[in-house]
């Protein structure tokens, strides 16, 4: 239990680190969101569950926090992605756009 918890905490910290490295290295907002959201969600999940396993008094609250983080993190990143798409934040050069004509026309306006 103790050792499994420690391993999970270490994995979580590594993923949090990789997520923030991703938001420094990636070229545009959308790619940064990809790296940032995924890595920090799994990192936070793994770290918090690890703490819950190391000290079982924390387990209940840890589960509440994990459920909340996993449910809300994708929503906030989706909102940021939509806002920056509508604000026409410049995309990485060579980004492919493939959608039905009507939506592309709507975007031109």
């Amino acid at each position: 239990m103790e050792i499994a918890g420690q391993v999970l905490v270490l994995i979580g910290a590594i993923f949090l680190f990789l997520g923030s490295l991703g938001i420094i290295r990636m070229p545009d907002v959308f790619n940064r969101l990809q790296a940032g959201t995924k890595a920090t969600t799994l990192g936070a999940l793994s770290l918090i569950i690890g703490v819950g396993l190391m000290n079982t008094a924390f387990l209940w609250k840890a589960i509440v926090l994990v459920v909340f983080v996993v449910l809300t993190n994708p929503i906030s990143s989706s909102t940021i992605a939509r806002a920056s798409y509508k604000m026409k934040v410049p995309m990485f050069k060579g980004t492919i756009k493939k959608m039905e004509e009507s939506f592309l026309e709507e975007e031109e306006k």
């Binding site: 979580g12 910290a13 990192g43 924390f58 840890a62 926090l65 909340f68 906030s76 806002a83």
Partner: protein, 83 residues
Amino acid sequence: MIITISLILIGIAVFLSFLRLLIGPTVSDRLLAADTLTTITAASIVLVAFVLGRLIYMDVAIVYAVIGFVGVVTVARYLEGGI
């Protein structure tokens, strides 16, 4: 030992996100950095709660996560022009 290494890694993560918050060329970049910082901070509050052995800090982490989420969504909706 492992806790120390994890805390150092989280410290570097906070530093890198903060760098993006400072240099980010557009508003979206700064908002995204703030969002990432919220998650990292909630996780590190949990770790601090474990190190200090205070169960009450878990509630602090939960409330922090809630407020961070609401704040980021509000700013994003504002930028989009929804509010």
